[in-house]
């Protein structure tokens, strides 16, 4: 285990230091392909039955192929690669106050919804509760004086774990947005059927940090769109291994293991900001959703 070292003063003016403990790469990590030959976990029939949408679904080529059933403000999406979404486009934008419920009640209702939809992942994938968020609305008058605030939605959030490892990326979480008991504004998941492709030959965390440092020298150092004037140094404070799960944007053939690097960038004037990066953990797999090629 390594920690607390100056990795490099890269070709540019920026320096990269690592204060994180670098974990050993596990030896039993598997490669997982996305199996699209079997039934998806949540099909269009289940979506339509559960959310009361009777319109005929249309097949569309967008987003990797999907069925889309739309009826007034209700939209059901079932993707060929395995994810699914439901939106009530009227409720989702509502700013009306709701009577909030306990986190336990919101999470329990979401789990019941998953069960009704058939969202029951295999033993490889587990859905673990993260917590309950909110849509919070506030109002100010013409002069900017406070006129009050309230909760308009509650959001139940679950994250995927694959063989006990965390997941990263837009598809990592499944969520339910609710406006009250049994009133759903949105449901989304990107849990795929997985097939074991064999053992993964992982790059070490130190290799990942070294590759990242090279990228810093080439001009990219974060996946966050944060403006920092005159960045001088990056400190990596956390390095962890997980699987990258794309959202429901397009076809996906494999869920690739990645090293997640998190830390802080410091500018000349002392301003700091967050840094986040994903480094492929396999020498032959890219992360195209972020235009990151393997090294």
């Amino acid at each position: 285990m390594l920690s607390g070292f100056l990795l490099a003063s890269v070709a540019s003016a920026m320096t990269v230091t690592v204060s994180a403990s670098l974990p050993e790469a596990p030896t039993d990590v598997r490669r997982y392909g996305v199996d699209t030959s079997s039934s998806v976990l949540v099909g269009m029939d289940a979506l339509q039955d559960t959310f009361g949408v009777t319109a005929l679904p249309l097949e569309e080529e967008l987003f990797g192929g999907m069925e889309h059933a739309a009826e007034d403000d209700l939209h059901c999406y079932a993707y060929a690669h395995g994810g699914a979404d439901f939106h009530d486009a009227a409720l989702l934008g509502s700013e009306e106050a709701i009577d909030t419920r306990s986190d336990a009640a919101v999470l329990a209702e979401a789990e019941e919804l998953f069960e009704a939809l058939g969202l029951a992942p295999s033993g490889t994938v587990e859905l673990v509760a993260v917590g309950v968020g909110a849509h919070t609305v506030s109002m100010v008058d013409n002069d900017g004086s406070d006129l009050g605030s309230w909760v308009a939605h509650q959001v139940a959030v679950f994250t995927q774990e694959i063989d006990g490892l965390p997941t990263f990326g837009p598809g990592a979480e499944a969520s339910v947005v609710t406006q009250g008991e049994g009133v759903f504004a949105s449901f989304s998941h990107a849990v795929r059927n997985l097939e074991d492709l064999g053992a993964a030959d992982l790059l070490d965390a130190s290799d990942a940090v070294s590759n990242y440092t090279d990228r810093v020298g080439e001009g990219r150092y974060s996946l966050l769109k944060l403006a920092i004037d005159g960045p001088e140094s990056v400190e990596i404070t956390d390095v962890s291994l997980g699987y990258y799960v794309p959202g429901n944007d397009g076809a996906v053939s494999e869920l690739v293991p990645v090293w997640r690097l998190a830390g802080t960038v410091t500018a000349e004037d002392g301003t700091t900001g967050d840094v986040l990066w994903l480094e492929p953990a396999l020498a032959d797999t890219d992360i195209p959703q972020h235009a990151i090629t393997a090294r």
Binding site: S12, A70, K225, L226
Partner: protein, 257 residues
């Protein structure tokens, strides 16, 4: 100097390195013409600036594509657009003391994708001071109704009051963005355009698009301006309320992604 070849036929477009355009651009408050303005910046000059990005052009182009195409249930057809990229995207495009009235504020829907913080949005242009501060905005006094800022923190707890103060009663309906950091993904622009195209309200389209591209570590946000006569809550790409230009109140909506 930025130049365009103006084409007037439907579906016609032209592109050169760093820019694309379609239709006949009008700089007046022409409520009858559907216009889109886009600035996207990936080239920030490497690590001497805020660091380069990689997905801003893709997301912006997808937004423009969905808004300007007849697809599926679409009744939208924003066939007039201007899209500037990298060095041709200038901070002055969004500044009242610059060319806001002939670019951002000449459109109906405006979209920026690049770096930002709670003070405003960052550029790396061949002209301008490369930072459009929220306090330099005066949006809607010409034409624009909906400004989306696909960048970090512009609508943070300290950023929202700056946006509110600069733009209240000017006529803009929504300023959409993030309270927290935002990811360099194409999803936000792509889905925002798609959802608007299939009939979602502006609020719903932005809320869901931001959720689609992020995890619950982030928060999306919008600032909505409205008045007793002009209720903007149900605005969508096909129809929207009158412009709130007097005695406006402001709604802040912040959500877990």
């Amino acid at each position: 100097m930025r130049t365009f070849i103006i084409l007037t036929a439907l579906f016609s477009a032209t592109a050169s390195a760093g820019s694309s355009s379609g239709g006949t651009w009008s700089t007046s408050a022409d409520e009858g013409t559907a216009e889109i303005f886009v600035d996207s910046v990936e080239d920030y000059g490497g690590d001497s600036g805020s660091g380069d990005l990689s997905m801003c052009h893709d997301g912006s182009e997808a937004f423009r594509f969905f808004m300007s195409s007849w697809i599926f249930f679409s009744q939208t057809h924003y066939d007039t657009w201007r899209h500037f990229q990298d060095g041709l995207a200038w901070s002055s495009d969004f500044e009242k003391g610059g060319d806001d009235d002939i670019y951002n504020d000449a459109a109906d829907f405006s979209y920026f994708s690049g770096h930002g913080n709670s003070w405003g949005t960052s550029f790396h242009g061949t002209s301008g001071d490369d930072f459009a501060s929220s306090s330099e905005a005066q949006w809607g006094n010409n034409d624009v109704e909906f400004v989306a800022l696909d960048a970090c923190q512009v609508l943070s707890a300290t950023g929202r009051p700056r946006v509110q103060k600069a733009n209240v009663d000017q006529g803009v309906h929504y300023v959409l963005g993030f309270e927290t950091n935002a990811s360099d993904v194409s999803t936000t622009g792509t889905r925002y355009g798609y959802y608007l195209d299939v009939g979602y309200t502006v609020a719903s389209a932005w809320i869901q698009a931001t959720k689609d591209g992020h995890g619950s570590w982030a928060k999306g946000a919008y600032v909505r301006f409205a008045s007793e006569d002009c209720n903007t809550v149900s605005d969508n790409a096909r129809s929207w309320s009158c412009d709130p230009t007097s005695d406006s109140y402001t709604v802040y909506n912040v959500w877990t992604l």
